[in-house]
């Protein structure tokens, strides 16, 4: 019956008959791209044939190597035969999808409906009381996400045309990338938790495939597998949350759940558990403590993949899910506090690791983890619009940073390739002074760095400030502040989260400046001969960078703070009100959270001061000139070493989770229980018992007549005795 409410909601919807009816085409376009590219990749490989005379492995010293496979194929960096078709199909489907999305967005903006428009395609599963449709939901939140995904996605596709140009797996790459976009769109457009879950797992799959894109390196394949399995741990929570929802509410549609959610009881243990389980899923997908470990390893994939999947879109799915489930989270203050606290801790924790990484992509990876933590702080404290706002701006500047680093790596790799050097093209100690070789990238990267550091007027400043302000505002007069979190008052937790946020902001400014200093400033350390080959990437790569640079610079205008003197104030906030407005209000006891102007200005001042201080500290303390190339670098000492090894978390997980499971399964369960006790003792044991009796019997059969005669006579005597002695 809850389904009917959804159906009613969409019949007679203001968007009915509009372009929004074509929403299904948005994900289907990339799917078509996937099918074409996938077919091309399989067909073409068939032509190549299995016999490859010089396909030995070369010991490359780096993990991200755009032309790795080209090396494998005997340094024949020939383009894939279908590359030209793929170069057209891959990005075009995305651009078409983006244009369609813009049209639908415009229709949505014109209609401004309060209820989501649900486009039902067909019935997916129906069993007993359970029924779920393959249906897409067009509302303010999903369309924001669709625009980000298709927009940023299209830019990254274009960038990839240049970046992956000579890769022999070129069609396969675009097939995966298209498939990813398809699933990501299903994720954000799905009108129910199961459909969302389709996208949720689907993007995980594509992430797995793309991380392990250069699969002949075990490291890459390992990283892909790790990503998938760790995500599955989170999905376990998501699944159980769905089961709980269905068992208690009888539906899994968003509209149905939102309508019925009050039945769970605000603040009840049930809704808290549901939210915590959902958050477990988010922690997996969005790389939060304790499941963040896969994301840094995921940098093994091609850099545009890191930009698209592991920075801009997929990893933010968790944030999206929390915002989508705002009705539930707003009823569970304890769970929301957990989200915020975990987010804050992750932001700080990852930032500290980011301080000592040498791999340029690893720095960005930890930065992503840290920024995702920020987003969770936002959605955790009930500032859902702020979380989504940071998601959007982060998509811009992080995609820019990754693509920029991709451009740097591309240049470095090209240089090393020319000289035949096997140095690490991603290690910052091998870079330095690149600003003179690639000025465009240099400028754009600085814009992104200032954005992420929170320097006004760049995008990151507004979104980050919005989140920190929200945390501060919730410390009083909100359900969160009133709630208890394991006996600790909610307000105390919120203050702690705020402090974490500030500290993370400081560290963010430091490590980002450090990255810029080591990469672009100071003397060049890549070597004499390589230096001659360093040059800016082609236009097809810098073009998307410029677009993202513009967005990073002005993205903040999407949601200008209330105190801002000019422009559309809080546009995104108002835009998202039909989706998460009620939930946000519930957190703040129905009052629009407004602080006094003085407090606001003070907070902004603190944030900016911290960001500037961070940059200043980095400039003052770090001396790029003193850095030596990776090959000559000494081992780090003390706490720096701990940071460089990421607090040894991977090693700890390996020791206490992975290895015990493996050795326990092998030693105890398989060899011990299965082969030993069940099969050995019971099954074969009974067989051996029978054989033993048979052996004894066989011993009696000596084959000597004499013996038989003796036994016979003794038997006769025994029988006769039985008669006579009766």
């Amino acid at each position: 019956m809850l389904l009917q409410t959804a159906a009613v909601a969409s019949t007679g919807h203001s968007l009915q008959g509009s372009v929004a009816e074509w929403i299904w085409l948005v994900p289907v376009l990339p799917l078509i791209g996937f099918l074409i590219n996938g077919w091309l990749s399989l067909r073409a490989v068939g032509h190549v044939g299995p016999a490859d005379p010089s396909g030995e492995e070369h010991g490359h010293g780096h993990t991200d190597d755009a032309h790795h496979d080209a090396h494998d194929d005997g340094h024949q960096a020939t383009r894939h035969p279908s590359a030209s078709i793929v170069s057209v199909v891959g990005p075009t489907v995305l651009i078409l999808a983006f244009l369609l999305a813009v049209a639908i967005f415009a229709a949505l903006a014109a209609a401004q409906p309060d209820a989501p428009f649900v486009k039902q395609l067909f019935t997916w599963m129906v069993a007993g009381d359970f029924r779920v449709d393959a249906a897409f939901q067009v509302d303010q939140l999903s369309m924001v996400m669709v625009l980000v995904i298709t927009g940023v996605g299209a830019l990254i596709h274009v960038f990839s045309v240049g970046y992956m140009r000579d890769d022999p797996g070129y069609p396969r790459y675009f097939a995966y990338l298209n498939l990813f976009v398809f699933f990501m769109l299903v994720l954000v457009l799905g009108a129910s938790y199961p459909v969302l879950f389709v996208g949720w797992e689907g993007v995980g799959l594509c992430s797995y495939l793309l991380i392990g894109f250069w699969f002949t390196d075990k490291v890459n394949a390992d990283a892909g597998k790790k990503a998938f399995v760790v995500n599955r741990i989170g999905d376990f929570g998501f699944l159980i949350a769905m089961f709980l929802l269905f068992a208690n509410l009888g539906t899994l549609d968003f509209s149905g759940v939102n309508a019925a959610a009050p039945a769970l009881g605000a603040g009840s243990a049930l809704v808290t558990v549901i939210c915590l389980l959902l958050f477990l899923g988010c922690a997996g997908k969005s790389a939060q403590i304790p499941l963040y470990v896969w994301l840094p390893d995921a940098m093994a994939g091609p850099t545009p993949v890191s930009a698209l999947i592991h920075a801009a879109t997929m990893v933010t799915a968790g944030v999206y899910l929390v915002a989508r489930s705002a009705a539930l989270f707003s009823m569970a203050p304890a769970a929301s506090l957990t989200v915020a606290l975990v987010g804050g801790l992750t932001a700080l924790f990852a930032a500290t690791i980011g301080l000592k990484q040498w791999d340029i992509k690893k720095v960005l990876a930890y930065s992503t983890v840290s920024q995702l933590g920020y987003m969770f702080v936002g959605v955790g404290v009930g500032a859902y619009a702020a979380g989504i706002f940071h998601l959007v701006t982060h998509a811009f500047f992080k995609a820019l940073l990754f693509l920029g680093s991709g451009s740097v790596i591309y240049a470095m790799h090209q240089a090393y390739h020319h000289t035949g050097s096997h140095e690490d093209a991603q290690d910052m100690r091998n870079m330095g002074g690149l600003k003179q070789f690639m000025p465009v990238t240099f400028v754009l990267m600085w814009i992104a760095t200032l954005a992420i550091a929170g320097i006004p007027p760049f995008a990151g400043f507004f979104s980050k400030d919005e989140i920190l302000g929200a945390v501060f505002a919730r410390t009083h007069g909100s359900t969160l502040a009133d709630a208890q979190w394991f006996g600790i008052p909610g307000s105390a937790v919120l203050y702690a989260v705020w402090v974490f946020g500030l500290a993370a902001a400081l560290l963010t400014a430091i490590y980002m400046t450090r990255m810029m200093l080591y990469t672009f400033h100071g003397p060049n350390r890549s070597g004499e001969r390589e230096r001659e080959h360093l040059h800016e990437a082609p236009w097809i790569m810098t073009g998307p960078l410029v677009a993202l640079g513009v967005l990073s610079a002005v993205g903040g205008w999407l949601n200008l703070p209330a105190f801002f003197p000019a422009g559309p104030i809080q546009a995104l906030h108002h835009w998202l009100e039909p989706v998460s407005g009620d939930a946000a209000l519930q957190v703040t006891h129905g009052a629009e959270a407004h602080m006094t102007a003085t407090t606001e200005y003070t907070l902004v001042g603190i944030a900016v001061a911290i960001a500037v201080a961070g940059i200043a500290i980095a400039f003052a303390r770090l001396k790029p000139a003193a850095l030596v190339p990776k090959a000559e670098a000494p081992e780090a000492e003390g706490f720096e070493r701990v940071l460089e090894h990421k607090y040894y978390v991977d090693e700890i997980y390996d020791r206490i989770v992975v290895r015990p499971i493996e050795s326990g399964s092998r030693g105890i369960l398989w060899r011990g229980l299965d082969a030993g006790i069940i099969d050995g003792l019971f099954v074969n044991g009974s067989a051996y018992l029978a054989r033993g009796f048979g052996w004894l019997g066989a011993r009696l059969q000596t084959g000597r007549t004499g013996t038989y005669a003796w036994v016979l006579v003794i038997g006769v005597i025994a029988v006769l005795s039985a008669f006579s002695l009766r």
Partner: protein
């Protein structure tokens, strides 16, 4: 005289049994078995005086069986001897599984 006959029968039977147990020559063992059969025949005959002539009929059957047994048994012994050049049962364990 039935009691005496039965006692004699028992003694002969036992002697035959001891022979089977102690001798190793297959032919001699065979003859011991014949002795045991004869002992049984004696009891049949002795008891037939009391229980009717059926016992004697049985003796005739036993003799027939003994004759058949002797024929087949001796044929077996001959063929074993052909293969092994001995009829000593200690050396023959073809029945061993």
């Amino acid at each position: 005289m039935i009691a005496e006959s039965l006692a004699l029968s028992a003694v002969l039977f036992t002697i035959g049994t001891i022979g089977v147990l102690t001798r190793r020559n297959a032919i001699v063992i065979f003859m011991c078995v014949e002795l045991m059969l004869n002992a049984v025949n004696l009891s049949f005959v002795a008891l037939s005086r009391q229980y009717g002539v059926t016992g004697q009929v049985f003796v005739v059957f036993v003799m027939t069986v003994a004759a058949a047994e002797a024929a087949v048994g001796l044929a077996i012994i001959i063929s074993i001897f052909r293969h092994r050049q001995t009829v000593n049962l200690q050396n023959i364990n073809l029945l061993k599984g």
